[in-house]
């Protein structure tokens, strides 16, 4: 009788990497939330052209900084997530 073979992955992360992953995940969450909020306010017409430009540049730099940090800690974008079990994942998986 055949049963499917399931590979067990040993967890290779050190405590330090786990911690940086957790911290960066939370930073990424905040970044995505702020970005969505800005987009919403831009659509609603609540921001001046100057404000849009300043916020856009800031968010753009923040995205760049996140990419750099991920590289520094050898983390792929998909690594930045938290599994909340039945609630799914913290961040969207796209």
């Amino acid at each position: 009788m055949d049963t499917p073979r399931w590979r067990v992955t040993a967890d290779p992360d050190t405590v330090e990497r786990d911690l940086s992953r957790l911290v960066l995940t939370l930073v990424e969450l905040v970044r995505q939330l702020v970005e969505r909020q800005c987009v919403r306010r831009m659509e609603q017409g609540n921001l001046t052209d100057e404000q849009i430009e300043v916020l856009g540049v800031t968010l753009m730099r923040l995205e760049g900084a996140m990419t750099d940090l991920c590289e520094r800690f050898d983390l792929a974008p998909e690594d930045l997530n938290l599994d909340l079990g039945p609630l799914g994942t913290l961040l969207p998986t796209q």
Binding site: M1, T3, I52
Partner: protein, 258 residues
């Protein structure tokens, strides 16, 4: 240690079937015109505490689920059957007999509901599409740049691009949900009953596209071809349909609590 009695399914006829969970042979308990298919299983594997641990072992779960299904599938192929949920364990056969007597009417209702019908699974997946660019944002494909304005207002261009991406995804998601509802309603109309299961965890299904629908349908045997044809027609335009079955009527055996 005394064995426990594991219950697989309830039908009206005793039939031979393959061995079940933990390799145990399957036998029947008859009462009130009903036949329960059971095995004796060891307490040290199926008692409450060991079971909690076993259920976290996917190998154990897979083996037990397949053994359970082998029995239910064999019985359901030969006679009208009410499958019982995985791991339903009684103290002994006498308790099973007492169950049949006490809930005879409810079991009869379930069996009547599934007579002459089989369950079919229909799963719909959203095929990966290229990221739609918001039509109002400029030319097709790539970043929504506005020529040399981008150089002077990069922050604005960035936010506009983010907006196009986010709104595009939302629209796609909404359309996908509507499509799933449409498919489910169309198939339920051809069936005696329809039921939506939760979308499958991609870590278990091994698929990285989005599951729109995980449906189960109780279909009259006479309408199976019509049903399968309709399921096929409902695919296309970025939606993949997978039909599985026939299944024993697992998804349609809800009984009112005693």
């Amino acid at each position: 240690m005394p064995d426990l009695t594991y219950l697989y399914a309830v039908a009206r006829e005793p039939l031979p079937c393959p061995p079940g969970v933990a390799g145990a042979p399957v036998r029947t308990v008859t009462c009130s015109g009903l036949v329960a298919y059971v095995s004796s299983v060891p307490l040290e594997q199926f008692g409450e505490e060991p079971l909690r641990r076993s259920l976290e072992d996917l190998d154990w779960l897979a083996e037990t689920a397949r053994a359970h299904h082998r029995v239910v599938d064999a019985v359901a192929a030969a006679t009208t059957t009410a499958p019982v949920r995985l791991v339903t364990v009684y103290g002994d056969d006498a308790q099973v007999a007492e169950l049949l007597e006490r809930r005879a009417a409810a079991f009869a209702e379930v069996l009547a509901h599934v007579t002459g019908r089989r369950e079919w699974g229909v799963k719909a997946y959203s095929s990966p599409q290229e990221e739609p660019v918001n039509a109002g944002e400029g030319h097709g494909g790539g970043r929504a740049c506005e020529g040399d304005r981008q150089a002077s207002r990069p922050g604005t261009a960035y936010l506009q691009h983010r907006r196009a991406t986010l709104r595009g995804r939302e629209q796609a998601r909404r359309q996908a949900l509507q499509r799933a509802d449409h498919i489910h309603r169309a198939l339920t109309a051809l069936a005696a009953a329809g039921h939506r299961h939760r979308a499958q965890d991609p870590r278990l299904s091994g698929r990285d596209d989005v599951m729109l629908l995980n449906g189960a349908y109780l279909v009259d045997e006479a309408r199976e071809e019509e049903f399968a044809a309709r399921a096929g027609e409902l695919g296309g335009d970025g939606v993949e349909i997978r039909l599985t079955g026939p299944w024993a009527p697992y998804s349609f055996t809800v009984m009112e609590p005693a």
